[in-house]
């Protein structure tokens, strides 16, 4: 079992820095699953999201990151996001802090999938992919994303 660790990234919050944050989450997933070294293939450029745990966490994180850049910060340059990863006993907790516009997630409607929506799917994806999605309005606003790795997932 991997020992507990805390990883922090303070980064500009914009679409240019999005891949950096997503890559960090993908690698932290490996740590949460008890893999100590980064996957060599992942360093070659391609994401390795074959493990459902990694795929689901990265999917959820990417949507929340998009929401912060596009909605909380309205695509403004010069804003910052703080990402703190807590890895312990197969559970990955991601805390994301931004100082943008707050909102009330409970007011976001579930997308009507039968109507083939072209937006409003982000929070639905995040909630479906994680064990817990919590939000506390700020400043700073805090997203807390939690997922426990279940070895049965790794089929």
């Amino acid at each position: 079992m991997a020992s507990a660790s805390v990883i922090r990234l303070i980064s500009p919050c914009d679409l240019r820095h999005r891949a950096l944050a997503v890559r960090l989450i993908a690698e932290a997933c490996r740590l949460a699953r008890g893999e100590r070294t980064v996957d060599e293939q992942s360093l070659s450029g391609a994401y390795d999201l074959r493990d459902p745990f990694d795929a689901e966490l990265v999917s959820a994180f990417a949507e929340i990151y998009n929401n912060i850049v596009l909605h909380a910060y309205g695509r403004r340059d010069g804003e910052t996001v703080e990402i703190a990863l807590h890895v312990a006993d197969g559970t990955l907790t991601i805390e994301i802090r931004d100082t943008g516009v707050s909102f009330d997630p409970s007011t976001v409607p579930e997308p009507d999938l039968d109507s083939l929506p072209e937006g409003g799917m982000g929070l639905h994806i995040a909630r479906a992919m994680l064990d817990e999605v919590a939000y506390e309005p700020g400043p700073p606003n805090l997203w807390r994303l939690t997922k426990r790795h279940r070895p049965a997932d790794a089929s």
């Binding site: 679409l15 999005r18 891949a19 950096l20 997503v22 890559r23 450029g45 391609a46 994401y47 390795d48 999201l49 074959r50 459902p52 990694d54 795929a55 689901e56 990265v58 999917s59 990417a62 949507e63 998009n66 850049v69 596009l70 997308p111 999938l113 039968d114 083939l116 929506p117 072209e118 937006g119 799917m121 982000g122 639905h124 994806i125 479906a128 992919m129």
Partner: protein, 103 residues
Amino acid sequence: MPVPIDFSRSDQGDVSTVRIAGTLDVNTAPELAPVIDKLVEERRPRVVVDLSGLDLIDSSGVAALVALYKRCRNHGGQVSVTGARDQPLAIFKLLRMDKVFAI
């Protein structure tokens, strides 16, 4: 270390195959727009989107494919997706797009 998008189109009779590899997300989906516009403009009867090389998609990428589907449907065209795997396949299933795109 961003993973770029790579795409190509090939036509064989009525079928246009669009191969999308790498990452289709909020950053790269706009790059695909000209390809989609052209397929719609040419009223292609059948579009096959080959995602066997796609590693990562987000809701913006899904939206681009849904837009392609809807716009082709407007002129009676068919759009299907082939080769989706791993993270993109999980997203399509969650959003019930696997049935829409006949994955």
